[in-house]
């Protein structure tokens, strides 16, 4: 069996207690043999969350393919056992039970979205399996000791996120004095909006409107009219998936050009394609431009992802939060397994708690509250049909600054 340079160095790095490890995305092809290492997980391949979950599917397929090309894990090929949880938390729980008891997978990787991850977490805890997951939105609920979040939002995103957004606006050309918070009752989205409300109050902003709607609302006409009547300087849109576009459409229909507007979880493709999405703000952990393209594995992954996403007819073919979070989860698995040379859940968990892993998002650590580390969230804005990071300044796309309507 051939051994590449990194694998040869691994024992030395491990012996030195390497505090910061990273896995290259491309590497020399390596021979693999033996039974595959099976990584099991579900994604919302159908149902209301499927538009986003397909990004995770594409990312996982690319990662596993490239991982196997460079020798797999521990000299064995890697197989991803993927099931469709249909966007349903109850089904996710059943399928994770199946993955552990019937499919007997070696490792568990998380599903998409908070509620489904919470379901999977319960199963992982029952069987003492490590769970690396990528899009959990309410860190305070992640109590299981061997769960590892790879969406680096920090332990209190409900305050750090809104503060980051409002810091950016305060430093911008038109600092807002009044705020309207309109939000879906989708759990993780609502959680962030409640946090934004508290943060805005503490910062002395005047709240001119607070509205909640049920996830799945179709008619945003009245909500747009209420926003127009409230005349806020800034809109915090607790929107997920289609809701942001529907709200923008409704505003346009009543001839209301919103002020600066933040979209919590927008649909990135339609936002950049629609003229109404211009100057819209959103959070991100990765965008496909400098300086983030210097992060581990970014260039190689972005190239393949762009091609495959175009082939899959995705409206937005660039790597952003979802793909980067998913990619990080696989990077963390690869780093932990190759460094410890183990598939034992407890060994991997113990190693992850003590070490930082260099990922496409940047360095991720798990030694904080509920295994959360730093908040690597940034603020991005639609500018000229593209997403560009505008805050914090060290991560801003070269030449990009926050614009206000």
């Amino acid at each position: 069996m051939k051994t590449n340079r990194r694998q040869a160095l691994k024992p030395l790095l491990a012996a030195a207690g390497a505090p910061l490890l990273s896995m290259p995305f491309a590497g020399a092809a390596n021979a693999q043999s033996g039974t595959p290492i099976r990584v099991g997980g579900t994604l919302a391949l159908t149902g209301p969350l499927s538009a986003t979950a397909m990004i995770h599917k594409l990312t996982g397929e690319i990662y596993v393919e490239q991982l196997n090309k460079r020798g797999g894990l521990l000299g064995r090929p890697v197989e991803w056992v993927l099931k469709d949880d249909q966007s349903k938390p109850d089904l996710a729980r059943t399928l994770y039970e199946q993955l552990v008891t019937v499919d007997k997978v070696d490792l568990l990787i998380g599903p998409y979205a908070t509620a489904n991850i919470l379901s999977a977490m319960g199963v992982a805890q029952r069987y003492s399996k490590i769970l690396v997951h990528h899009t959990f939105g309410i860190p305070s609920l992640a109590k299981y000791d061997m769960q590892f979040p790879t969406w680096a939002t920090g332990p209190t995103p409900e305050t750090s996120g809104p503060n980051m957004v409002l810091d950016a606006l305060a430093a911008g050309p038109k600092p807002p004095k009044t705020i309207a918070i309109v939000t879906s009752k989708f759990p993780s989205v609502h959680f962030m909006s409640v946090g934004a409300r508290d943060v805005a109050k503490k910062r002395g902003m005047q709240e001119v409107l607070w509205l909640e709607w049920e996830f799945g609302n179709r008619d945003f006409g009245a909500i747009a009219s209420r926003l127009k009547a409230a005349r806020p300087d800034f809109i915090w849109g607790g929107v997920i998936a289609l809701e942001g576009m529907l709200l923008l459409d409704a505003m346009k229909k009543i001839d209301y050009a919103p002020p600066t507007m933040f979209h919590f979880l927008p649909s990135p493709g339609p936002m950049i394609k629609s003229p109404d999405g211009n100057l819209g703000l959103a959070m991100t952990i990765f965008e496909q431009h400098e300086p983030m393209m210097k992060n581990a594995g970014a260039v190689e992954f972005a190239k393949i992802f762009n091609e495959r996403a175009a082939k899959a007819s995705l409206p937005d073919t660039s790597v952003d939060t979802q793909a980067a979070a998913s990619f990080s989860a696989w990077q963390i698995f690869e780093t932990a397994v190759t460094t410890t040379k183990s598939l034992d859940d407890k060994t991997l968990a113990a190693w992850l708690k003590k070490n930082t892993v260099n990922t496409i998002q940047g360095p991720i650590r798990f030694d904080g509250v509920n295994n959360y580390g730093d908040d690597l969230t940034k603020l991005k804005q639609v500018q000229n049909g593209e997403w560009a990071v505008v805050w914090p300044k060290p991560f801003a796309k070269p030449g990009a600054t926050l614009n206000t309507p």
Binding site: W213, D219, K253, I254, S313, L314, P315
Partner: protein, 285 residues
Amino acid sequence: MQMPSLELLGQSLLSGLFIGGLYGLLGLGLSLSWGMLRQINLAHFALAFLGAYLTYQLSEHFKLDPFLTMLIIVPGFFLIGMAMHWMFAKFKVTPFNSLLVTFGLAVIIESLIQWIWSADYRKLESPYSDIKFQVGKLFLPLPELMTLLIAIALSIATWALLRYTHLGKAMRAMSENPKMASAFGINEPMLALLLSGAASAFAGVAGACLALSFTLAPSQIYAWVGVVFSAVMIGGLGNPLGPLVAGIVIGLSEAATMAVTAPAWAPLVSFSLLIAVLLLRPGKV
């Protein structure tokens, strides 16, 4: 609770009126097939979305006017509706089983849509998207206005056809007592095929209207089921004007709720109305 301004209330009610028209348009075909053919056709929603995606495809990629796409979609869907009814008749699908069979068809159509257009969102940027009329301080967007007018025109035309023409009277007779109607020389199987075709064609029209106003995703098929079912049941099964009137009542009620209180209360409106109608008019639904 703060009272909204007249402008806010008026604009919200207009929005409710427009979405109510769409509820009515979506409910028209469903009501006909449920009330007159005894088929509870859940695939109706999937067909509407298939129509919406076809409108998107024909407009975005073949540069056809979105309204002209109906010239292709409506005949095509008419044939699909006839084929569906032929299948139901051949396999003697009961009303209850039609619910299960059409749910299966809806899932198949959803998968087909996802396979062709992916699960990601599709938004038709049509030349009508930006057109709106202003009446005082109120705005009337053209796509929604057209949807409402189409819903009114189709509902009234269908009602008039069923009420005043020989064909319509034969259809009503077939619906009330197929055996007796056949004894009087009415070609029941052919009329049922025509009715099923028309119901599906209405789904195609509703789909084109959906594409003009909404961002599309395959899973959105099911987002409309509850409220449109309510409109159909409140309006009375087999009554072409019923879903439109009930849809507008629901739309206006939801919009008023959203304008005055928390929008999260709006979904309660349609189902509260349905419960009230079921309690107060038990024999009429």
